[in-house]
């Protein structure tokens, strides 16, 4: 199904402009100074920095704050705003790195489940196509390779774009991606052997820049020891700020709260974090995860062990955002190394 097309640099902006013309396009931009995913109006607004965007795409499908429904306190009438649209229109999320595209696929496993589909996430997800960009230059904090992802991973993407020196290779990954490319009405040359060889070389170079941060080979066995003594050491530096969970593209924990003003109210979902003590505090006062040791263990275990039992996959894509943003330099890679090297 996959098809490789070639676009020269001079035509690439035209390709983007055609996408913008036909769809609502969202991508990493510095429009609001954040390098988060925002609405893209012109091709040059897309800002692909080295490595991943500052903020992940997460806010797009799973907003940090989202109104689930509004209500009237007097009449108790509920207005759930989300409506399923069948107009065939879809949005484009462009500029994800392969690690973020993989994270979309992982979040799908949580939110798009047949019996308990999260309508808010699923609705946005079903009307969005994903165009990722392969990584030519991983950052020092990238460790995708250690968790089974790669600079050219296609998982989660409908289309993946390789940036060569004077041209781009646009590779359609899914049927939806194929339709998306055809929908532009633009003519593309098929990639030649030379194009492919250059692409392969770039990817080989990219991969050579990644160093193995840790090995997951023995991780399952190590993490099976829930009461291991190292948890007490590992958590010492943590100040429980939760920033790792906010930046993480696969962390999906949330809280639901009510907000009222006069007779009008809204039920709101907000990102929450397992790093906070109130997260699990019972009304009785009992807390199953009372100290940072239990909370740190929960975060690591959820990502690297529980998810293996739940989905057969790890909930970490190696984007390195938690490493970059931790205010006390608590490096996830070092944590995993400490675990795997423990006796």
């Amino acid at each position: 199904m996959a098809r490789d097309c070639v676009v020269h640099n001079k035509d690439f902006d035209r390709f983007l402009a055609l996408l913008i013309e036909k769809h609502s396009v969202f991508g990493p931009s510095d429009n609001d100074g954040s390098n988060g995913f925002t609405r893209i109006e012109t091709p040059e607004q897309i800002k692909l920095h080295r490595g991943v965007a500052h903020f992940s795409f997460k806010n797009f499908f799973f907003p940090q704050t989202e109104v689930l429904f509004s209500f009237d306190l007097a009449s108790k009438k509920i207005d759930a705003a989300n409506k399923e649209t069948e107009d065939g229109k879809y949005d484009i999320l462009i500029g994800l790195r392969p690690c973020d595209a993989l994270a979309v696929d992982l979040l799908d496993q949580v939110f798009v489940v047949p019996d308990t589909k999260d309508v808010y996430y699923a609705e946005r997800r079903s009307k969005t196509r994903i165009i990722s960009f392969a990584c030519n230059e991983p950052c020092a904090t990238c460790f995708c390779e250690s968790v089974g992802c790669a600079p050219d991973s296609e998982v989660g993407a409908d289309v993946i774009i390789y940036v060569l020196k004077d041209r781009y290779i646009i590779r359609t990954v899914s049927q939806a991606g194929e339709e998306l490319i055809n929908g532009t009405g633009m003519h593309f040359d098929a990639a030649s052997e030379k194009d492919r060889a250059e692409k392969e070389q770039m990817m080989t170079d990219a991969k050579s820049q990644l160093t193995r941060a840790f090995s997951v080979d023995e991780l399952d066995d190590k993490l099976a020891n829930f009461d291991a003594s190292y948890w007490k050491q590992i958590c010492q530096k943590c100040i429980g700020c939760g920033i790792c969970t906010y930046f993480c593209p696969t962390c999906h924990c949330f809280d639901i709260t009510d907000d009222t003003e006069g007779s009008q109210g809204r039920r709101i979902r907000t990102w929450d974090s397992c790093m906070y003590p109130l997260f699990t505090l019972h009304a009785s006062g009992h807390n199953p995860r009372p100290t940072k040791k239990e909370r740190m263990r929960q975060r690591i275990m959820h990502k690297f062990s529980y998810s293996m039992q739940q989905y057969g996959r790890r909930l970490c894509v190696g984007c390195g955002r938690c490493v970059v943003h931790c205010p006390v330099n608590l490096d996830l890679r070092a944590v995993i190394r400490e675990i795997t090297e423990a006796k």
Binding site: G265, R267, R269, D272, A283, S305, Y306
Partner: protein, 279 residues
């Protein structure tokens, strides 16, 4: 596509104050929409999120059996923000329900077997639902002997009192009611639930035990059951956790890789032995 976050409106038909301390109330709710009534099919052991607009939600076990007709009973202890507001609600008020959520007591496994129910305090709610389910005319033959051991701190803290006294007289079950410490008028047993359980020496042959109560009761009840030959696979416990979504997404009610809201709340003791002791 149905939205699992939107509560169904329900009317409070009646409220019973269950205990002397007046902090446990049973709310009898009826769903207001016919489509919701049809959709809300449940079995003993499941729970629902009770929802107060402008206040929030709390997960509460369903205390009634589906065999009891249209009524939905929820016995709620006043403990936190939502339950405190719920205790201020009056008959005729409209509240919301989301659910039913979670798994059930192992009714299939219990079929054709003796059932031992061990409960303590206000955690007797879904156990009451199970007893009602078993005792219902058409169901009674599907199960063998039903034995209930139920205790509370003192006589005033026993819930569902009228039903307990009726069950004492009934022929199709055996019930042992006990309190940690009686008062002047108390003519029945005194003693902790595990002690009483030991006295009655339950027969574990072809039997299933369902246990729900405060942690300290469970801690001392499990060794007694094991001592009398109950295999960990035949002992079932219902757990509680702080929850929000009820559908395994918000991430806070997990014990290891199991979510209490969707993989539980009922777990066998054998299953719990496989999970981290973090609950």
């Amino acid at each position: 596509m149905s939205n699992p976050y939107v509560p169904m409106p329900a009317k409070i038909e009646s409220i019973v104050i269950e205990n002397e301390a007046r902090d446990i109330k049973t709310f009898n709710l009826s769903l207001m929409n016919d489509t919701d009534k049809e959709r809300f099919s449940f079995l003993p052991g499941q729970f629902a999120e009770l929802s107060l607009l402008g206040i929030g939600e709390c997960p509460i076990g369903i205390a009634s059996s589906p065999t009891e007709g249209g009524c939905l009973l929820f016995t709620v202890k006043r403990a936190g923000f939502v339950t405190t507001q719920l205790h201020r609600a009056e008959v005729g008020d409209t509240i919301g329900i989301r659910g039913p959520f979670g798994n059930t007591y192992p009714l299939d496994l219990m079929e054709g077997k003796n059932v031992l129910i061990v409960g303590g305090g206000f955690a007797f709610t879904t156990l009451r639902a199970t007893a009602k389910y078993i005792l219902e005319g058409n169901n009674r033959n599907r199960f063998k002997d039903l034995t209930i051991v139920y205790g509370a701190r003192n006589p005033g803290e026993l819930i569902y009192k009228h039903e307990l006294w009726e069950w004492e007289k009934a022929k199709d079950l055996k019930i042992y009611i006990t309190v940690d410490k009686g008062d002047k008028g108390w003519k029945r047993r005194e003693g902790f639930v595990p002690t009483v359980l030991k006295e009655i020496a339950p027969n574990s042959d072809s039997a299933v035990a369902l246990v729900c109560g405060p942690p300290v009761m469970i801690k001392f009840t499990l060794p007694v059951l094991l001592e009398f030959g109950f295999a960990p696979e035949t002992i079932f416990l219902s757990l509680e956790m702080r929850m929000k979504c009820g559908i395994g997404k918000c991430g806070r009610c997990n014990i290891g890789h199991k979510y209490v809201c969707k993989d539980g709340p009922v777990f066998s003791y054998a299953q719990l032995n496989e999970l981290p002791q973090e609950y």
